[in-house]
């Protein structure tokens, strides 16, 4: 061996070493999404079976190389292309970046071990029947853990839906598209402990507005390896993710999760549900502190402090997507309300104080304009009530005046379309136009029957947020303002939700 040979060898080893280190340093989830080759273990020829659905998803949408494994062997045609069915992953000649295991739990350890032998370091296991079903399943999961450690495999799952990233053509959701609709690419990324919640919410986002919402979706199930802390870490550094939405029931690494949330929430909003709120954990200890420390009391305070926007209902989550997915952040907490119904205005005003917001005091100029434009029986102070006599033109005057007022940070546009002189089409047009300005949050609620529903659909088609009650619209302002206040507290001046 010459000196030169040694030099070359040294360089090769150094590169390998560095590559390996880089891989370990980068977030575990990044390796999954960066895959250029993908293998479905348990690929079924039945298009409705999970292994058939995932194979078809990838055949149709994934731009990289796809391999299918099925012990029966043979061939399978998908999206006009013939794929050999390998009897074992070890029979594949090319390299595989990521594999998904969709076989019954009892066969999963063998499949995982073969992945290890094939040097696949990223594996998704969607199958259920592990720790969540009791002792037997727990045993299999422990066996899997041994294999994971031995081959240093990163695992998502088991008992999950895996990953969905429309822009990357990545879709391990094993429910057929005829049943579970897929939202298109957008700025919101989601991670969820519950697969069923995830599936239903994904389906819901498809029909919400334009359906262009999702950047990355991660369902991590039993979190045998990848957990909530890995998810938040990855989405925090993912450039395409602008808004992070979370569904959690418990924590695998609560401390790290909170620390990551604290860091990432300064760059992008994080919101969601931490369910399982029952007051457990508080024990009659020797100290007052122990007696006061119920699990949810601690969780709630730590999440809030870290900047996590916690909501409690499914509906609020959808409101979060609409508000954070389409609106800029407000400069402050002063809200203007425009309504054609007194009751709606009063209820909205109540919600303003419930959400720690304030009713804006209009500038002299705005007040003068309103007073001059409207008959005396309109209430021109905040909340502005243009009454049952309102026309679409009245709405335009009122909304434009308050929207342009520097004393107003957010605008809530309430309409009960059942009044006689209001042309709903004109009103919708005015609302759409104003919502394009995106200088401040502008949220609408249309309350009533068929006209309200028709109008709501028209607005949502263009991702103009519109709700079915005054309270929901104000609460959405409340969530945006809560986040704006959090950023202000930490002197973050550049809004993560710039004009969008």
């Amino acid at each position: 061996m010459t000196f030169n040979d040694i030099y070359v060898l040294k360089t090769i080893f150094l590169i390998r070493y560095l590559k390996n280190r880089m891989r370990n340093m980068s977030n575990k989830l990044k390796n999954f999404f960066d895959a250029t080759s993908f293998c479905v273990i348990g690929a079924s020829t039945n298009p409705l079976k999970p292994g058939g659905v995932v194979a078809e998803n990838f055949a149709k949408k994934f731009p990289g190389k796809l391999y299918l494994v099925n012990p029966k062997g043979g061939e399978h045609e998908l999206a006009g292309k013939k794929y050999p069915l390998y009897k074992s992953i070890l029979d594949i000649e090319g390299t595989v970046d990521v594999a998904i295991i969709i076989v019954p739990a009892k066969y999963a350890p063998k499949a995982l071990e073969e992945c290890g032998k094939k040097a696949i370091r990223e594996v998704i296991i969607t199958t259920g029947g592990f720790s969540e079903i009791g002792v037997e399943g727990q045993k299999i999961q422990e066996k899997m853990l041994e294999i994971m450690n031995e081959y240093r495999i990163n695992v998502i799952g088991p008992n999950c839906l895996g990953l969905y990233a429309p822009k990357l053509g990545y879709d391990t959701m094993f429910l057929p598209e005829s049943k579970l609709k897929r939202p298109k690419s957008g700025k919101v990324s989601i991670f969820t402990q519950s697969g069923a919640f995830g599936a239903a919410f994904i389906d819901q986002l498809y029909r919400l507005g334009s359906g262009n919402w999702v950047s990355k979706f991660i369902s991590y199930g039993n979190a045998s390896d990848i957990n909530e802390a890995d998810c938040i870490d990855y989405l925090g550094s993912d450039e395409e993710t602008k808004v992070i939405l979370v569904y959690l029931e418990d924590f695998k690494n609560g401390r790290k999760f909170i620390e990551k949330v604290r860091e990432i929430s300064l760059k992008k909003p994080i919101m969601g549900i931490k369910a399982n709120r029952t007051e457990t954990g508080a024990k009659a200890g020797a100290s007052h502190t122990a007696a006061l420390s119920s699990n949810d009391a601690v969780v709630d305070d730590l999440l809030t402090e870290a900047g996590f926007i916690r909501v409690t209902t499914w509906g609020e989550l959808e409101d979060c997507v609409l508000a954070f997915g389409t609106q800029p952040l407000p400069a402050g907490d002063r809200v203007a309300i425009v309504t054609d119904g007194g009751g709606a205005g009063v209820m909205a005003s109540d919600m303003v104080s419930d959400c720690n917001l304030k009713l804006a005091k209009f500038s002299e100029e705005t007040q003068k304009k309103l007073d001059e434009s409207f008959p005396v029986f309109y209430a021109t102070e905040n909340p502005i009530d243009i009454t049952g006599s309102a026309t679409a033109e009245d709405y335009r005057i009122a909304l434009e005046a308050v929207y342009s007022d520097p004393n107003v940070d957010s605008v809530v546009n309430l309409c009960l379309p059942c009044i006689p002189n209001l042309n709903i089409e004109e009103y919708i047009q005015i609302t759409k136009e104003l919502s394009k300005r995106k200088d401040k949050p502008f949220l609408t609620a249309l309350v009533g029957g068929n006209e309200a529903i028709w109008g709501t659909e028209k607005l949502l088609q263009e991702d103009v947020p519109c709700f079915d009650s005054p309270g929901r619209a104000v609460r959405a302002v409340g969530l945006l303002t809560q986040y704006a206040k959090f950023l202000k507290r930490y002197n973050v001046n550049e809004s993560p939700l710039k004009k969008q």
């Binding site: 418990d250 924590f251 609560g254 401390r255 909170i258 954990g281 200890g285 020797a286 100290s287 007052h288 502190t289 122990a290 007696a291 006061l292 420390s293 699990n295 009391a297 601690v298 969780v299 305070d301 730590l302 809030t304 402090e305 507290r489």
Partner: protein, 228 residues
């Protein structure tokens, strides 16, 4: 901070898992907190001397490993302002607790009235050591107006916790009462959160209750530390 560990180890060696008040307060002093002047006495004459040293207004608390809840067992008497009263309490303790092991009697200068607060810590099964702050005193578990932070916490986190206390009126000088010095209170919370974090292998639970905020400052008046 081997001094702190020494105290923990000594308590363990004597077969206890709860520090006596004066032991817990020694730890707070090591950390630099300002406590009301006090003296552990072992005779009636020492008690009388301490009474005069502390300007003739003291509390007397019996220190015994057998008594964990001092107030409930009548082992705390406050506002003693004559020598006779001090002698009387001393003799009463010696008589009533004759069959108990007695470490001594803590004679402590009375702290002027103020707002009562609590700072406490415990080990949360999800987040590890956490610290709470809120209105304290005997009604702490009735009010339940406490805010949690993860240990160790920064001063900013402590200040935001104080801001999240619901009964803000209580802190802002309600009806001529003292306005609580939030900066100083936050600093104490930070110090205690570091204690709970650094000695997480020793400390299971901690109650500093009440902490009295008055015109002169913020003073931990009772302290309970339970070891693992």
């Amino acid at each position: 901070m081997s001094e702190v560990i020494n105290i923990f180890e000594n308590v363990k060696k004597s077969g206890r898992n709860a520090l006596l008040e004066h032991e817990a307060k020694d730890i707070l002093k090591i950390l630099g907190l300002v406590l009301p002047p006090s003296c552990l006495v072992k005779s009636e004459e020492e008690a009388v001397k301490a009474f005069h040293d502390f300007e003739g207004n003291v509390a007397m608390k019996l220190m015994s490993p057998h008594i964990l809840h001092k107030t409930e067992e009548g082992a705390v008497v406050i506002g003693l302002d004559t020598e006779e009263k001090v002698r009387g309490v001393y003799r009463d303790y010696m008589q009533r607790f004759a069959n108990k092991e007695i470490e001594g009697i803590l004679v402590e200068k009375m702290v002027k009235k103020g707002i009562e607060l609590i700072i406490g810590s415990q080990i949360d099964e999800t987040f590890g050591p956490v610290i709470l702050i809120g209105p304290g005193g005997v009604f702490v578990e009735v009010l339940r107006d406490v805010v949690f932070r993860m240990c160790p916490c920064t001063k900013e986190q402590a200040l935001s916790a104080i801001e999240e206390i619901k009964t803000q009126n209580l802190l802002n000088g309600f009806r001529g009462m003292v306005k609580v010095d939030r900066e100083k209170l936050a600093e104490q919370m930070v110090i205690l959160s570091k204690l709970a974090w650094e000695y997480r292998d020793y400390i299971a639970e901690m109650d500093i209750n009440p902490i009295i905020a008055n015109e002169q400052g913020i003073f931990p008046v009772d302290a309970r530390i339970i070891l693992k």
